[in-house]
Point group: C2
């Protein structure tokens, strides 16, 4: 009997890298278990997972809704769910509809009506739905898109998904038709893209975002990347744009977006628009969000577009429900039918996620019983996130050898750190990338888990890390980062 | 601008077939929309989806819990959720914990305690969990396996999944290391296997189950298939066993299972045990379920085993929550680490599904407030399903040209239909497989949607279909099948 070894497995999977949940995250999880088991030998008393945009994470205690409470009641330690979101209430009622009568006056009227309406369309949340998602919810998504963009959307071209990741992964699997197929991805990028390309034996075609211009996307740089790919006999199939950016938080102007659409026309590229952070805007008056759907419609382009959205981000951050959708535009019916066939093998997305999508695209409206509270809380969340992002980037910029673009969107900062030769040598001696070495030291000393820039991609010789702006007590948090960094500089010297 | 065409996409995906949600299911869905829109021209007033084991489906009105009510109150039209399962109550409380105080005396004490315990481990069901699943729930799964089998289970080797399908798909993706890699699959099989093999460019190595022996698995037939594969230069990597069978409902004896384990040793095969129907047993005294984990441990084998389970089947049938797990046994740590890396790219399985797994592996115990009702209802569900399966197979066997093994397990029957030459000719003239032609006619005339045998695989020149035993009013339902079949024989003659 031969044992099952790594060598006998699909070699493509060995190439997959996903730093967001890689070595650092695994080490952080081990620290968490150590602390839970009563170990008092660590130099911190809790682990802060700043590696992933997980707003409702336990221990963060600044989940979106709580933001509101924190603003008015500093140092509150109440668990978030004492003040439930409309979605939580709807979800509870779809679990057990009779609760509306068993607990009268507990649920707002609009919530009861919404749950009743959803259940009449869904039947039971314990049943499989249509593989593409509940038709009623897809219609609501289409209305949301129409109201956002001012152009029609077709519910039959919308697919509800298990988070945005599942949709991205499927589209990449479809587009990679041979080992020479490539997909243009921004650098730095969210590592789902490189991971999925590796899994499906496709070639990443990297194009670089310009940090000196607040991480702007440049058409010239994309064309340069296309040229390089062409010389390497790689056939570009699609262009990925992440807007607002992850990890950069940057927002594209309509002008750049129009140029990108024309570029996709010129090179026959499918446009994959990752727009999951579309409602995380910190300075919307100067940095608004515009969807690619709107631009493609506006310039009457025939560019095939797939745009992704998720309930895991925004101000609710309902990650654990696993919900999202993608919209196909200018995609032919046979291709849509193929997508349908592929999603049907997975049966259907989770109903909890589908209901989450419905709540995201149909928030309470003025006049609804839930509206005032919802409005107040979401506004407070937006304000708090914007102010934290600004405070954090200001203070990071005050550190020696650190420069940080103040993200206008998303949930992250991506500071650049210059590292001394001594630090780089020490890292190499430990067999680590220098930024990984920095992030490991940060974790060991402070319990703060970030993701090293090498997981997202960066220019040769540059070092960064990504941290979320979802942090408990910004002063204490940034204080720890500052103290660690000053200690590091003391130890290894300035670059 | 070239439009995006099918030819430019991954050719592997074009080969994917998934009949359970294919042509027939799409047509059935269209009929359902027609009926909803008030169309009265159809010869039926509702569509009955017998194509998929979806116990809680709307319109079936015999979802598991309701079975109990139907037994005592025939023709009840109350919706199921008036009598919530403990899982629904727990899920409602994890959505909004304060409900326990806001609606006192509404929730059983054990349910309140369970929800509190789960939340203290999970934090928020809106947050990402550990990619492998909440550690506490994995520990409970391990205890369940230990109690079931009498052998230890390791929570670190258990992965919670988005239904069993997601796990099967990942394992197949991992095992197919080149286009000559093959996986042994039973014929007939659940088409997830052929679909996933096609998607990942692997070769199915079919071995036939013996209908004349109640769909028994024969070691000789598997060895014959291995021999054929060897001659075709296909490298067998794994053996899939579905026990209880889908679509056959058959159950393996411990003797056969032991032989299978030895066969896997002999040929260095990974054993993939699909055991999602393990609690759907209609005649447990003569046809009990034994897990492969137990046999592998009992004979102290080193065969690498991955066994799959799901919350979508059993007596609760919580399909829409998308929950399941797989256990790795005799799988080396580097391979487990690779699996972890792959699941981490998808972030985590839905929390609603994870909570569903917890309820499945920890049902109420004697002495708990929920126990008596749970016991009564699940027993009634088991009894009703067993009696329906028997009644349906008896009556199908009474039809000319139909023979049907009375399944001892799972949710299906897989009757064989002999078709006359006239019927076969008519089918070919319509460009259809004869069993698909039969199933389409059945749908058009009665609104009953089944899956043609060709979707599962069958011997050359044989025809079958799969139907679920989850049907509203067995008399009316089988009556429709009988009337249709007699009309068919009248039209096309006996074989």
């Amino acid at each position: 009997m031969r044992p099952l070894t790594i060598d006998s497995l699909n070699p493509a999977l060995l190439k997959v890298e996903y730093a967001v949940r890689g070595e650092l995250a695994i080490k952080a999880e081990n620290y968490r278990v150590q602390l839970q088991d009563g170990d008092r030998s660590l130099p911190f008393d809790r682990v802060i997972s700043s590696n992933i945009g997980n707003p409702q994470q336990k221990g963060l205690d600044q989940a979106p809704i709580t933001f509101a409470r924190q603003v008015s009641t500093p140092h509150s330690t109440q668990p978030r769910r004492d003040s439930p979101s409309a979605l939580s209430q709807i979800a509870a009622l779809t679990e057990w509809p009779a609760l509306a009568e068993l607990a009268p006056d507990v649920f707002p009227k609009d919530v009861v009506a919404r749950a009743k309406e959803l259940l009449s369309e869904i039947g039971s949340i314990g049943a499989y739905s249509h593989s593409q998602g509940v038709p009623f919810i897809r219609k609501n998504v289409a209305k949301f898109i129409e109201e956002r963009d001012g152009y029609p959307a077709d519910p039959n071209h919308i697919f509800l998904t298990t988070g945005a990741s599942a949709g991205v992964s499927l589209l990449i699997n479809m587009l990679i038709s041979s080992p020479t197929s490539g997909i243009l991805i921004p650098i730095p990028q969210y590592p789902l893209y490189t991971a999925t390309l590796a899994q499906h034996n496709g070639q990443p075609i990297p194009y670089y975002l310009d940090e000196s211009k607040d991480w702007a996307t440049s058409i010239a740089d994309i064309e340069q990347a296309l040229d390089k790919a062409h010389k390497a006999n790689i056939v570009p199939k699609a262009l990925v744009i992440i807007n607002p950016g992850n990890p950069t938080g940057s927002l594209l102007s309509e002008e750049t977006m129009t140029q990108i659409v024309h570029l996709c026309e010129k090179y026959s590229l499918v446009l994959l628009a990752d727009e999951v952070y579309q409602s995380n805007l910190h300075r919307p008056s100067t940095h608004p969000f515009t969807s690619f759907k709107k631009i493609v419609c506006k310039v009457q382009s025939h560019v095939p577009l797939v745009s992704f959205h998720s309930i895991s981000k925004g101000v609710t951050g309902e990650c654990g429900r696993r919900g999202g959708y993608f919209e196909c535009h200018n995609i032919s019916e046979p291709v849509v039918a193929l997508i349908y066939k592929m999603v049907s093998v997975g049966l259907c997305p989770p109903l909890a996620g589908q209901i989450g999508v419905d709540s995201m695209v149909r928030p309470p409206r003025a006049g609804d019983e839930s509206y005032e509270l919802w409005k107040k809380e979401t506004q407070a969340t937006h304000d708090a996130l914007a102010s934290r992002t600004q405070t954090m980037s200001d203070r990071l910029n005050g550190l020696p050898g650190v420069s940080c673009v103040a993200s206008p969107g998303a949930l992250y900062l991506f500071p650049r750190i210059t590292l001394s030769q001594a630090a780089i040598t020490a890292a190499r001696q430990h067999g680590k990338e220098p930024d990984v070495f920095y992030a490991l030291a940060l974790l060991d000393e402070t319990g703060i888990c970030v993701v090293a820039g090498s997981g997202f991609g960066q220019k040769e010789g540059e070092w960064h890390y990504r941290l979320t702006c979802l942090c408990p007590g910004v002063d204490e948090y940034v204080g720890k980062l500052e103290k660690f960094h000053r200690g590091w500089v003391e130890k290894y010297g300035e670059a």
